[in-house]
């Protein structure tokens, strides 16, 4: 009998094309490339911003000019020319201001349909309010009325600046100051839009809030600004998902996300990120340089970050928690997948300041092909953090002998009553596990898939239901070529 079965190694599945790669052709009102104070004044004027915000932006810009781009992460990329980026791009139809979905450009709706985000269906079926960001300006926001009834504000941040200036002024930049880092300063100067969420005292937000970001116009850096405020005793779960069309030029995405949790408040922030990762030679793809930070100001507040990162050529972000309030809790659950030439340097920072603060970090990294990924985390337990507790677990799974997985956990403890544990393992998919599955009649691809899903389970369990399904599908699609 002749051997007909073809040996397929898991690595062979790695190179699956990006499935959400298409460009919608819509007229955009785009500024010419370049960055100076006039550009910032222009953005500010376009958005009818008050004087204080313009000054805030200019201050950030002046500070940014004195800063140099940091190069410490474990990634390599061609530097960005900040003068060759256009800093403002809005879909033309926005000028007329669509009041409902019916007024929205049908081409936009088509784009969302292609991505599997049928806005209107979601209204009815999933019960999710979607604040869809197409390029930089929010186009449609649903379920606003229902949220308004309970006092929840969920709107584009530019709208919030107009309608609730005192709230925005009170909180904007208090978690991530304008001069925090190079990219945060840039974002503060030129951010065009993003989401604003305010949950008043004692309110449990009746639905999951969700925003789909999508980068569309060529050569437009995306500078989103998200601000979520949870007042005393409130609860909100916020979802963020991303996908972008295929193109060759690298695109910079430098978003800033600020979360504020007051006494007894809880914020759950989930991200599924699937931006264009570049082709198999590392050409193109998104640079995802994001600053995300939560400030647990109140006692017994809780912030939970969950992220599934499968896209972007370079991911460089550390969703962090400043545990200021006594008994506050920070959580970080992450799955990061790098394949082809993708690179990721991601992790979290848990800054324990209050008494009896607790944090949990679970990070799962999967590297395939030529992918390189690093977990970089900081657990700092200040002298005042009596009885602080941290548990960290970071596991890496390697598929193929050309990829890399790295771990750089920083641990700084200044209080003896703190208990801190860190564990990390790195391994490949066990041959005996694969063999066992295959001996039960499961194909190699399915077996790999199954093992990877098991590997990520701790994190997926933390995602809201709708997202968990999506994340599972995303992993399968990404790994279909890749691991599964």
């Amino acid at each position: 009998m002749s051997e007909v079965k073809q040996e397929r190694k898991p690595e062979e599945f790695t190179n699956r094309d990006y499935q959400a790669g298409f460009i919608t052709d819509i007229d955009t009102d785009t500024l010419p490339p370049g960055l100076n104070e006039d550009v910032i004044r222009h953005i500010s004027a376009k958005k009818d911003e008050p004087e204080w915000l313009l000054n805030w932006r200019l201050e950030a810009f002046r500070h940014w000019q004195t800063m140099t781009e940091p190069h410490w992460p474990n990634v390599t990329y061609t530097p960005t020319d900040y003068q060759s980026i256009s800093y403002y791009s809005a879909p033309k139809s926005q000028a007329d201001g669509p009041k409902s979905l019916d007024e929205v450009d049908p081409k936009l709706l088509e784009t969302y349909a292609k991505l599997g985000i049928p806005l209107r269906e979601q209204e009815f079926l999933a019960g999710v309010a979607v604040d869809a960001v197409f390029d930089s300006v929010s186009v449609a926001t649903t379920f606003k009325g229902k949220l308004k009834d309970v006092g929840v504000i969920f709107c584009p941040i530019s709208e919030a600046v107009r309608d609730y200036p005192e709230l925005v002024q009170q909180y904007l930049g208090t978690v991530v100051p304008t001069g925090d880092n190079f990219f945060a300063a840039l974002n503060s100067a030129v951010f065009t839009d993003g989401s604003f969420v305010f949950i008043p005292k004692g309110v449990r937000c009746p639905m999951e809030l969700s925003t789909y970001f999508r980068i569309n116009a060529l050569n437009t850096g995306q500078f989103e600004r998200t601000l979520i405020i949870a007042e005393e005793g409130s609860y909100v779960s916020y979802l963020e998902g991303c996908t972008a069309p295929q193109r060759d030029e690298n695109q910079l995405h430098a978003a800033v996300v600020e979360l504020v949790a007051l006494d007894d408040a809880q914020i759950k922030y989930s991200t599924v990120q699937n931006w264009y990762p570049g082709d198999e030679n590392g050409l193109g793809g998104i640079y995802n340089f994001v600053t995300k930070r939560a400030d647990c100001r109140g006692a017994r507040s809780k912030v939970s970050w969950t992220q599934v990162e499968t896209g972007s050529a370079i991911t460089w972000k550390y969703p962090s928690c400043v545990l200021r309030g006594d008994d506050s809790v920070g959580e970080f659950y992450s799955v990061a997948l790098t394949k082809m030439r993708q690179q990721a340097d991601t992790g979290t920072k848990m800054i324990h300041i209050g008494k009896n603060t607790r944090s949990t970090i679970v990070s799962k990294g999967i590297a395939a092909g030529f992918g390189n990924q690093s977990y970089r985390g900081l657990v700092r337990i200040a002298k005042s953090a009596e009885g602080a507790r941290n548990y960290t677990q970071c596991d890496s799974l390697l598929i193929g002998d050309k990829c890399g997985a790295h771990t750089f956990p920083y641990v700084e403890v200044k209080n003896p009553s703190a208990t801190m544990e860190h564990e990390a393992t790195t391994s490949k998919i066990g041959e005996d596990q694969l063999f066992y599955c295959q001996s039960r009649g499961i194909s190699e691809e399915d077996a790999v898939n199954m093992i990877v899903n098991g590997f990520c389970k701790d994190v997926f369990n933390e995602l809201p239901m709708e997202f968990a399904v999506e994340a599972n599908r995303l992993m399968e699609v990404s790994l279909e070529g890749a691991v599964g």
Partner: protein, 416 residues
């Protein structure tokens, strides 16, 4: 001095002058500020000499039957030393006179590593003496060699070279000691080379005087099937740092690093280790523990790098830290850098105080709170020391380590 050795020394000196001492802005020195050294020892800190004599005899390890190389204030003391016959042991100073080529090789133990940072460069340029040990192929040293470096303050630059031939075996105790009240700095670079099938058990005992600073570096290069066990204990000194670099260059090599540091008062102790897995089928084990009391500050940084092609690597690293006081601080960073999928790597870190349940258990058995604490602290630290195969050295280190901790009263009773 031959031209080539002089040339290397000059190059090192230039590198030092250009770079100076590392600062806390260097990622590798983020937590260890050695700028104070200059303030303590003056502008010419690298050549401040010791003024008092010192007595090496008081640092002999009890019940240790060993050959002895004694270096006092950076100069070999032939009279106090007792050298083996079967194995070549020379002082660096003598070799600079007689065999400069060998010294050049020792200083440039690999490529440009002798210039890798300001401290190593200064040491390369200025090293005055040290032990050079060469164990020939297929030889087993019958007794350990005790290299005793004593000082009475001031700056000394020591360079030690250890070469273990094929299938040869040795046990070496590198001991830094002092008993004085002067400020000073010891820089000590030790290069160890293990040929095929060589074995070494190396003890590094840093027990400097309380005001002495110590900046040490151990570079280990291992060939096929060689095995290295390093026991690194940092107990003395005011600011001390030890860099251990192990390079597993050929298949089947294995290394074990056991480290303990015990710090009290305002001591600052830093341990940096790096293990390079450059060949397949190599094994490494690392277990470092720290006990911190008073206002001491401990730093641990353990890095494991698995190169592309180093398949079947098996590596495990563990770092446990015990904080005994409200003001002690630990900064630890266990790093993994892996470029290969066929590996088994794990690391773990814990930081904490004594376990309340364990304390309760012991107290329920009738021990006082103090006794219970002492016993648990001792057990925590002794897990590392118990791995020392030389019992005389182990006892010696236990005494030195626990004598520092104020709440250990009945040490003898515990040691049994």
């Amino acid at each position: 001095m031959s031209a080539s050795l002089q040339h290397i020394r000059d190059e090192a000196w230039q590198a030092f002058e250009a770079r100076g001492l590392p600062t806390t802005r260097d990622e590798d020195w983020k937590y260890t500020d050695i700028s104070r050294i200059q303030a303590l020892l003056g502008d010419q800190w690298w050549q401040s000499a010791a003024t008092e004599p010192c007595d090496a005899a008081s640092f002999v390890i009890a019940k240790l039957d060993a050959y002895r190389v004694v270096i006092v204030n950076g100069h070999f003391d032939a009279q106090a030393s007792d050298l083996p016959a079967s194995v070549s042991v020379k002082s660096l100073a003598a070799m600079i006179q007689d065999e400069p080529e060998q010294v050049s090789e020792l200083i440039t133990y690999r490529d440009d590593a002798f210039l890798s940072n300001g401290i190593v460069a200064a040491n390369s340029a200025l090293a005055s003496d040290g032990a050079c040990i060469c164990v020939p192929d297929n030889t087993r040293l019958d007794k350990p060699i005790h290299i005793l470096n004593v000082n009475s303050g001031g700056t000394t630059h020591l360079r030690t070279g250890i070469h273990i031939g094929k299938q040869a075996q040795a046990e070496i105790i590198e001991h830094f000691a002092g008993n004085h009240n002067n400020s000073g700095l010891t820089t000590a670079v030790t290069a160890i080379r293990l040929l095929e099938g060589a074995r070494i058990e190396h003890y590094r005992l840093q027990m400097e005087a309380p005001k002495q600073c110590h900046l040490g570096r151990v570079e280990i290069t291992q060939q096929r099937d060689s095995s290295c066990t390093l026991h690194a204990t940092e107990i003395g000194g005011m600011i001390s740092r030890a860099d251990v670099v192990v390079r597993l260059q050929q298949a089947g090599a294995s290394c074990t690093l056991n480290g303990l540091f015990v710090a009290a008062n305002r001591q600052h102790i830093d341990h940096h280790t790096r293990i390079d897995h450059n060949a397949p089928h190599c094994t490494s084990r690392e277990n470092y523990r720290a006990v911190l009391d008073g206002r001491s500050h401990g730093v641990f940084n353990g890095k494991i790098v698995v190169a592309e092609g180093a398949i079947k690597t098996d590596s495990a690293q563990n770092n446990a830290n015990l904080l005994l006081s409200q003001h002690a601080e630990i900064d630890t960073k266990p790093e993994l850098e892996i470029y290969n999928d066929d590996v088994k790597c794990a690391h773990g870190v814990t930081v904490g105080q004594l376990d309340q349940n364990q304390l309760f258990y012991l107290k329920s058995r009738g021990l006082s709170d103090d006794e219970a604490r002492q016993m648990l602290t001792f057990a925590f630290a002794d897990e590392v020391l118990a791995k020392m195969s030389n019992q005389a050295v182990r006892r010696y280190v236990e005494h030195a380590a626990f004598a520092k901790l104020p709440n250990i009263s009945d040490l003898e009773g515990m040691l049994g």
